[in-house]
Symmetry: C2
Subunit: 338 residues, 2 copies
C-alpha cells in the first residue's frame, strides 16, 4: 500500500481532528442530495452520541423528499457564518470545492480554524488543511462509515438510516458502476444495524408531486425518436400552465433514457425566455460529453449538459445535428455489459 | 433448529438427486420473469460445467428484456413433453404449482421420474417428491445459489449474471422488504464473481419500447387524484391508436404509484370490450387486498387486483367508492419506515 504513487487519504488526520474537537462545525453542499444530508446527519448524530456538541448546517435546508432523515431536528436554524464563534473545527462534507457551500465560505473564518474536507468527488480541489478525499468511494456516506469504524463508534438505526440514504442516493439505488461488492456489503451491514432499506427506497424513489408527474406527461407528449436519439422538450409555457417549478422537469430523464430504441438522449428545457438548458445522456459506449464541451458545457461521457442562448426552434436542430455524429458511431467496447 | 415446527427445506435431498442425475430436465414457469430464467439458466450452466447434460426448458421462451442472459443458447427448442425420454430427474424452478408450467405438466411423465420442486413462494403446493421450498428466500436464485454452494460448485461470471438477475428482478432492484442483509451480501458475492450489476440494472430497468412509453404518456394524461387515491385508465381505443399490446400498460404503475399526494392507487385497463382489469396498489399501512377480494379478485395488502365485467364508466366509480373506505382509514402502524 505504501508503495502506491497516490497516497491513501489521511483518515488518521481526520480521526485525530474529530477526536480533539468538542464543537465541530459540520456543513454540506447547497442544493443537497441524499448523500450530502445523509453524511452530514449521520456524522452529526455519531458525534453527538460521543458527547460532542456539533453545529450542523445544510445551507439549503432539507428538501421534502428527505423529510424522513433522522437527526434533522439538530440542524442549526438560520445559521449565519457570523454566528460561528466557539466552533473549533470546520468539516465540509461531500463538496468538491468551496463554491459548493456558497455564502458559508468565509476566508477569515476558514483561515482561523482547521478545515477538514471529507469527500469522494474526483474533481475535489483539496481545499482543506486536512483532506480525506477517497475517489474510490461511491458515496460520501461510505467514507463517513469508515470514519465511524475508525472511531470504534457503534452504528445505531438512526445513523444507519442516514448513511444508507447517502449510499442509496448516490448509487441510484445500487444501479451505478460505483456499486462495488464493498458497497453492497456496507449496505448489508447498515440494514443489519436497523436501516429500513425498503422504506428508504420508497421515500426516495416513489414520491413525486402530482405537479411533477403532470409536467413529465406534458414533456413525454413531445418525445421524438431521431435515429438512435430520443429527445423531448419542456417549454416555459408548459411549466407555467401546470404551475411547475424549474427543477420539476429533470426527473423525467429517467423515463426518457429508458427508450429501448435509443442510445443517446436529450432534454431541452427553456429555463427563461431565450435560454435553453440541454441535458444529455447516453448508454455506455456513446460519449455525449464531447458535444456538451463543444457547446460550452461539461459533464461525463454518459451524463453531460450545457446552457445555450437562443430559441427552441433553432437550438434543437443544432444540438441534434451534433448528437447524430455521436449516435451514429459504433459504440466503444465498454458498451457491453461490463 | 431441529426443534422448529416447520422443518428446514431438504437441501440435502435435492443435492443428492442432482448429484445422481446425469440428464436432468429443468423447467421454469410460463410468462417467465428474471428470477425464473435466472434460476433456470444459472443452475443449468452450473450442471453443464459439472459435466452433466441438462435439458433446459422455458415454456414461453425468453422475453426481449432478458436477451442478455448467458446460457440461453442451451435452451431446448420447441421442447414437447413427448420428447422427454432419457431425462432421469425433473426439476421445477420458481413455480408455486404445476399449473405454472402449463402443458409441460404430464401426469404420466411426472409419475415416472423423481420431481424436485425448488421454489420460494409461500403458496407452493409442495407438488414434488423432493420439495426444497424456502419461503424466507427473496428469490429462487438465492436458493439456487445455496445449492451451488452445497455442491461446492464455483460461480463463474455467467452463472453469477443469471443469479444476480434473478435477485435484482424479484427484489425490484433491492427495494422490497425481502431485501435482507443476507441478500445484499449474496449480491456482493455475485458482483465479486463477475456479475455486472450496473449492466443488469440498465438492461432490466432502462429499456422500454417507444410504444410502451407512448402508451404510458396517454395513460398518465388520464391521471386523477380523488382524495388520497390516484387513478388512471387505459382504454382499448388508446392501445389500438398506438399499436400497443395488452401487457404494455402495466409498467406505468411505477409512475402512478409515485404520486406523493396519494396512498392508494388504481389502474383500470380495458382488457376487451366489457371487461376491465383493475390493478390496485397502496403504500404500507393501507390494505387494498380486501377490496380486491370483495370484487372477486385477490392479492397482497399492497398489491392486488381483480377483473370486472362492465363498462369503464360504471366500474371506475364503483371501485373508487370501495377504495375511499381504505384511503380514509388512518394507516396502520406498519405504515412507518420499518
Amino acid at each position: 500500500m505504501n508503495s502506491e504513487i497516490k497516497p491513501k487519504p489521511l483518515a488518521e488526520a481526520v480521526l485525530h481532528a474529530l477526536g480533539r474537537s468538542q464543537n465541530p462545525f459540520l456543513i454540506c453542499h447547497i442544493d443537497p442530495d441524499g448523500d450530502a444530508l445523509g453524511s452530514l446527519l449521520g456524522l452529526g448524530l455519531a458525534l453527538r452520541k460521543m458527547g460532542k456538541n456539533p453545529t450542523l448546517v445544510s445551507p439549503d435546508g432539507v428538501p421534502a423528499i428527505y423529510d424522513f432523515l433522522p437527526g434533522q431536528e439538530f440542524l442549526a436554524k438560520v445559521p449565519a457564518v457570523s454566528r460561528v464563534t466557539h466552533e473549533d473545527l470546520i468539516v465540509v462534507l461531500d463538496s468538491s470545492d468551496l463554491k459548493r457551500i456558497s455564502s458559508y465560505y468565509d476566508a477569515t473564518l476558514f483561515a482561523s480554524r482547521p478545515v477538514a474536507n471529507i469527500d469522494h468527488h474526483a474533481t475535489n480541489t483539496l481545499f482543506g488543511n486536512i483532506n480525506y478525499v477517497d475517489t474510490s468511494a461511491g458515496a460520501c456516506a461510505e467514507i463517513v462509515c469508515n470514519l465511524l469504524d475508525g472511531m470504534h463508534e457503534e452504528i445505531n438505526p438512526e445513523i444507519a438510516t442516514c448513511l444508507l440514504t447517502g449510499i442509496f442516493t448516490d448509487t441510484l439505488g445500487f444501479r451505478t458502476t460505483s456499486t462495488t461488492p464493498q458497497m453492497l456489503q456496507l449496505a448489508a451491514r447498515l440494514v443489519q444495524h436497523g436501516a429500513p432499506l425498503a422504506g428508504i427506497a420508497e421515500k426516495i424513489d416513489q414520491r413525486r408531486s402530482l405537479v411533477a408527474i403532470r409536467l413529465w406527461t406534458k414533456i413525454l407528449e413531445t418525445l421524438q425518436l431521431d435515429g438512435k436519439i430520443a429527445w423531448a422538450q419542456c417549454d416555459l409555457a408548459m411549466r407555467r400552465s401546470i404551475g411547475a417549478s424549474e427543477d420539476e422537469s429533470s426527473g423525467v430523464l429517467r423515463t426518457l433514457t429508458s427508450v429501448a430504441e435509443a442510445s443517446v438522449f436529450a432534454l431541452f428545457t427553456e429555463r427563461s425566455p431565450g435560454r435553453i438548458d440541454v441535458s444529455l445522456r447516453s448508454r455506455p459506449g456513446y460519449n455525449v460529453s464531447k458535444v456538451a464541451f463543444r457547446l460550452g458545457g461539461g459533464g461525463h461521457p454518459q451524463a453531460a449538459g450545457c446552457s445555450l442562448e437562443g430559441e427552441m426552434a433553432t437550438i434543437v436542430p443544432r444540438v441534434l445535428s451534433e448528437l447524430r455524429i455521436v449516435a451514429n458511431n459504433t459504440p466503444s467496447p465498454q458498451g457491453n455489459m461490463a
